[in-house]
């Protein structure tokens, strides 16, 4: 019987022995008992081999995911499965407005935004092919991803669940989650972003080839489907621009506060060549903001000094592509002083209404102002 010569390693390498140690049952117990009866001198070796195997199993199986990691993977996959279902029943999207919940959140963030008053202008272009960064975005945010599309010839304002606002130019579209888990959106075309300050949750904007991270600021993106270089220009505030490679972990890299991208400050811009995949800083780009083709909301300083309220509202209407309904006999003669540059649309309205002691409500692209004190 060959087993008579068994030494430690032989036991350790024997699949039958391993199976017995790991999943003992009566048949195997009987077999090995019989073996030990026949070879009582092997008892210590068998016991030792048994210990070794149990320790091997324990030690090689120790790197299981934590419950939190499992949950993250489960959710990520779930999002994907969910999104696949939704893709099959695509609903044409026209416009979105803030939910009650969104309003509450916005209210909480107003004071921060006002005191910081960041603003940035972002100008970029992407190309027609489904870009890999879009795939990354989709993969990460599949649950309830919406697409806002501006098929009109006027600016279209999208209000995001965190209180931030995005003004989409005609022909542009924005993919964004219904409610944010990570604050991440994907843009094709031109848009002006005004982002609620939240250092704990950076806001990431993806276009083809690059991601831009903001902690709370406003900026515009222009990403026509032409394949020309992508341009990012900052008006106020600070953004970090990252070139994306094909690694699936880029999203994590950009979200990592330790990792610095190309940091842009006011009147700086960056240009990203889709072909060479190189990101270059362009100083002195302030001129971008005075160009006539630049969208109103980005050119506008929103600096009001004893400005008549009708003019303030006209400015907001033009910039955000909304219609503001208010009582002219009540508020028509009021005037306002405020510096609202870089604040999300909600916050601008909140500041204006606070000054007028009025309230506002948004429905579709109509803003209704109620209350307020009559000015003489």
């Amino acid at each position: 019987m060959k087993q008579a010569f068994y030494v430690l390693t032989d036991f350790l390498e024997d699949p039958d022995f391993i199976r017995w140690v790991k999943h003992p049952d009566e048949t195997q117990d009987a077999y090995w008992q019989q073996f030990l009866d026949a070879h009582p001198d092997k008892k210590p070796v068998v016991e030792m081999a048994r210990q070794y195997i149990l320790v091997f199993v324990e030690q090689t199986g120790q790197q299981q995911p934590t419950a939190a990691q499992s949950e993250m993977m489960r959710q990520y996959i779930q999002k994907h499965v969910q999104a696949e279902k939704e893709e099959k029943v695509t609903t044409p999207f026209t416009r979105t407005t803030g939910t009650t919940w969104g309003w509450l959140r916005m209210a909480a963030s107003i004071t921060l935004v006002i005191s910081i008053g960041l603003g940035a202008y972002w100008y970029s272009q992407t190309q027609m092919v489904q870009p890999e960064s879009y795939q990354q975005f989709k993969k990460a945010n599949l649950a309830g991803t919406k697409e806002a599309r501006n098929d009109t010839d006027k600016p279209l304002t999208v209000l995001l669940s965190d209180g931030s606002s995005v003004v989409l130019q005609p022909g542009s579209r924005l993919s964004y989650p219904d409610t944010f888990q990570q604050r991440e959106v994907y843009l094709t075309g031109k848009a002006f972003f005004e982002i609620v300050k939240d250092p704990a949750r950076p806001f990431l904007v993806y276009t083809h080839g690059i991601a831009t991270k903001v902690l709370g600021t406003s900026f515009m993106v222009d990403a026509p489907e032409s394949g020309e270089p992508i341009k990012v220009a900052v008006k106020t505030g600070r953004v970090a621009v990252y070139a994306l490679d094909e690694s699936a972990s880029v999203r994590k890299k950009a979200a990592d506060p330790e990792l610095e991208g190309l940091v842009l400050t006011p009147n700086q811009s960056a240009e990203y060549s889709v072909e060479s995949r190189r990101l270059v800083r362009m100083p002195d780009s302030g001129w971008v903001f005075t160009q006539p083709e630049t969208q109103v909301v980005a050119r506008q300083s929103f600096d009001f000094d004893e400005t008549p309220v009708p003019e303030v509202f006209r400015t907001l209407e033009k910039a955000y592509g909304v219609h503001i309904v208010y009582d002219e006999t009540m508020l028509g003669k009021c005037s306002l002083s405020a510096s609202l540059m870089g604040q999300p649309f909600h916050d601008k309205l909140a500041v204006v209404c606070k000054a007028l002691e009025a309230q506002y409500a948004i429905q579709g692209n109509q803003v209704t102002i109620t209350g307020g004190q009559r000015c003489q």
Partner: protein, 205 residues
């Protein structure tokens, strides 16, 4: 994913696979719950970056769901299928096979392993605790492929022929990986017992 269907808990791979191919989401969930932990454990032996392992495990399952209609009808083992997909994906994510070390290991893959017959006659009983620490220590120093083979053999209970297919080497190489790992274990044993004894002496001073 739908919540775990309790009726799947006793199902065979074959039943799960058939339902998955028909687009049954609860079968997909059951497969995920059954295998994702050990799959992640295996991935961690291939690459140390845990976020890369997470990404790869997610992608493997997403692919399974996405490709469900085109998956082959017969599956020997879902586990084997998942492990092979994960290994390929991680290697793709890493870009290139890390040359150097892999080649060094491959060079003498087919050499005959040193005979195990010079087993020491006296078997000392080691405490389970000491043994655990020793093996833990050993695993951090062994070449990656030996650890991979040990994991697949002892923890995941794949056969030598399955491991050979997974690792893309012949069966003899797999036996060598395992045998070499076991041999290093024996060789480092006395040294480790000594160092632990010194540690214990210092502590008790």
């Amino acid at each position: 994913m739908a919540s775990l269907h309790s009726s799947w808990s006793n199902s065979t791979d074959q039943q799960l696979w058939r339902s998955l191919r028909e687009g049954d989401e609860s079968a997909f969930t059951a497969i995920f719950e059954r295998y994702h932990r050990t799959l992640y454990n295996y991935g961690s032996k291939l690459v140390t970056d845990s976020s890369l392992v997470e990404d790869a495990v997610q992608e493997v399952f997403i692919d399974v769901w996405r490709m469900r209609a085109t998956l082959s009808e017969e599956i020997g083992s879902i586990k084997f299928y998942l492990y092979r997909s994960l290994r390929r994906r991680i290697h793709r994510m890493q870009g290139k096979y890390q040359t150097g070390s892999t080649i060094d290991e491959l060079v003498d893959d087919d050499s005959t392993p040193t005979s195990g017959t010079e087993e020491t006659t006296q078997i000392e009983q080691e405490s389970r605790d000491l043994l655990s620490r020793r093996i833990q220590e050993l695993l951090t120093h062994l070449p990656k492929r030996q650890v991979e083979a040990l994991t697949l053999y002892y923890y995941d209970e794949f056969s030598v022929s399955e491991i050979a297919q997974l690792m893309d080497v012949n069966e003899k190489s797999v036996r060598n990986f395992i045998h070499r790992a076991l041999t290093s274990l024996r060789q480092n044993r006395n040294w480790l017992i000594g160092s632990l004894l010194i540690f214990w002496l210092l502590c008790s001073l």
